[in-house]
């Protein structure tokens, strides 16, 4: 029983950048069990908000029995989290999901925006040669220094205020960087671009996906993504982000908009037995 819901005390909370917060939680069992790329389900203390917020594990301090999360205020739940202080408590469940496989190859750790946090724990755990390519909006390069302790860091910023102006691919191209395996987390357009880049260059590419979740443990089928082949569990071309992911081999999954999904389902290529009605 690795997964478990517990009430965890907040050890510390710190603002890293505008709207970005870092929180350490006291959760010894979860810290001990966690792997890089896994996430925890964080519940709000507001009874009108029932579903947990999935947040990546940014660091696991197994000795002190603590987990760190770094999150952006994206709505009411994360806003609530940002208001808590050391000593306050939150319900959390985890560690959830599969995490990144640790390969012994020259690696890119690629994080875009709020996809950066899991790269810290990954950088700590990868023994190989590694370059972290981190994409930011502007000069608020949260976590870059900390990741820099474990990996070479290359930065891209949208406004060009630090590093390469542009996105992570621009930074890779600008530096003519090379690697044999990619680990990535970030917005879908970035993941799409990386998937194409990896295919072009024949690089093994692992991407961490995001989807709205309800159960967080694989039971509700709320959070599926779309797989190239029929998945063993679902028996259709769907995989559960929370349980089968969030990390997938880029080749295995298709990153589709709602519209594209609708067409694919209607077209029958997911085994197409049901037409979606817009009711």
């Amino acid at each position: 029983m690795a997964q478990k819901k517990v009430r965890a005390a907040i050890v510390s909370q710190e603002k890293l950048a505008e709207g970005i917060f870092s929180m350490w939680l006291d959760a010894p069992e979860m810290a001990a069990a966690s792997r890089p790329g896994q996430f925890i389900a964080v519940y709000t203390n507001d009874p009108s908000k029932l579903l947990p917020r999935p947040i990546s594990i940014c660091e696991a301090d197994k000795e002190k029995g603590r987990l760190r999360i770094v999150y952006r205020i994206a709505g009411a739940g994360t806003l609530e989290f940002s208001g808590y202080q050391a000593g306050d408590t939150l319900d959390i469940m985890g560690p959830l999901g599969n995490g990144f496989p640790l390969k012994d190859k020259k690696a890119f750790l690629i994080g875009g925006g709020i996809g950066i946090p899991p790269m810290l724990e990954l950088a700590k755990n990868l023994e190989c040669e590694k370059t972290a390519v981190l994409g930011y909006r502007d000069a608020e390069t949260f976590l870059a220094d900390e990741i820099g302790k474990y990996a070479e860091v290359v930065i891209a910023s949208e406004d060009g205020s630090v590093g390469t102006k542009g996105n992570v691919i621009d930074a890779i191209r600008a530096g003519s960087l090379k690697a044999d395996v990619i680990y990535a987390c970030g917005p879908t357009p970035m993941l799409k671009a990386l998937k194409a880049y990896a295919a072009e260059n024949g690089i093994e590419c692992w991407i961490s996906l995001e989807e709205k979740m309800a159960c967080g443990i694989g039971a509700c089928l709320g959070c599926v993504c779309h797989s190239k082949d029929v998945d063993e569990h679902s028996n259709v071309k769907n995989k559960r982000v929370c349980k089968d992911g969030p990390v997938f081999l880029a080749d295995e999954v298709e990153l589709l908009s709602s519209e594209e999904q609708r067409e694919r389902i209607a077209g029958g290529c997911m085994c197409g037995t049901v037409k979606v009605k817009e009711d």
């Binding site: 690795a2 908000k49 029932l50 089928l221 679902s234 028996n235 259709v236 709602s258 389902i265 009711d279």
Partner: protein
């Protein structure tokens, strides 16, 4: 103290079941809850063939609840029989299989295939707001509901639970219709059709536009409908909709439910079902009730 209840000849060790679609086939929650403690596990809706379900986003949170438009994704009855039933057979709990389809023939196909297995009961989902036959679900027209019940009863080897939609004008009429069709048990409520709009992105929160609402926000509607259904029919009623605590479960039992099912609450606290089993016993102890059956429909 007796917590056993009887659903059409099937004896449950206690009245606490899971809601279809919120518990998978028990594998995931089985890591956190002892399935042996449950009266029954009700599995996710299964069709005759694999179903891919709807595009994402499929779920979204609303005040006191959630909307879902999973669209009945499922592996198809063959894989289900091979994999899920043997898994559940390891436990000392009743197995109730939720059945879905797009046509009457689809339903009959699944019901016949399940007749060869030793599951305990069938729950027929004629009320999923996310998959429709024509403008309305099967569960929104009494005549259609009666017909499909009768057709299923003809081929079913196990007792049949008909699951009703709350999206109707008159739930009593629907309950009577499935009773007339020969249903052994009626269960309710399925989700209430709802919608959420993301005002910043100016789009629907769900790819399917509408979704089924569940969670504590729907409980008063569910209790009312369970009460009305229990008043309208002689067959047992299974109550669900927003049950989060043993107190909520007791409300349904007092309103006339012989058994209760826990859905969305599993997502909030994975151990809810077991805690409700304990809580019902605590309630009985507190009020010196010897047999849970004394409480069924005790408020009229």
């Amino acid at each position: 103290m007796n917590t056993k209840v009887n659903l059409a000849g099937v004896q449950l060790k206690n009245p606490v079941m899971t809601c279809s679609g919120t518990f998978g086939s028990g594998m995931e929650y089985g890591e956190m809850v002892d399935l042996n403690r449950l009266g029954a596990v009700v599995t996710k809706g299964i069709a005759n063939v694999p179903w891919p379900g709807n595009p994402t986003p499929r779920v979204t949170e609303v005040y006191g609840g959630m909307l879902n438009a999973i669209g009945l994704q499922g592996p198809g009855v063959d894989v289900f029989i091979e994999r899920d039933i043997p898994f559940l057979k390891q436990y000392d709990t009743k197995i109730i299989v939720n059945v879905c389809g797009k046509t009457k023939e689809d339903y009959l196909d699944v019901v016949e295939r399940l007749g060869e297995t030793d599951v305990d009961m069938l729950e027929i989902n004629i009320s999923c707001p996310n998959v429709k036959a024509g403008a309305l679900a099967f569960g929104q027209d009494p005549k259609v509901a009666e017909d499909i019940t009768a057709a299923i009863k003809k081929v079913a080897k196990q007792p049949v639970i008909m699951k009703l939609s709350p999206n109707v004008t008159d739930i009593s009429e629907m309950a009577k219709a499935v009773e007339a069709g020969g249903a052994d048990v009626v269960s309710l409520i399925n989700t209430i059709t709802g919608m959420k709009i993301d005002i910043n992105r100016r789009t629907f929160a769900l790819a399917n536009k509408t979704g089924g609402m569940s969670g504590p926000a729907v409980k008063p509607v569910a209790v009312r409908m369970v009460y009305q259904a229990a008043q309208a029919v002689k067959i047992p009623v299974i109550g669900m909709g927003g049950i989060m605590t043993a107190d909520d479960a007791m409300e349904f039992i007092l309103a006339g439910a012989t058994a209760v099912a826990v859905g969305t609450a599993n997502f909030v606290n994975p151990c809810t079902t077991a805690e409700i089993v304990d809580g019902i016993e605590a309630y009985m102890k507190k009020y010196g009730v010897e047999d849970i059956n004394e409480l069924i429909g005790a408020v009229r």
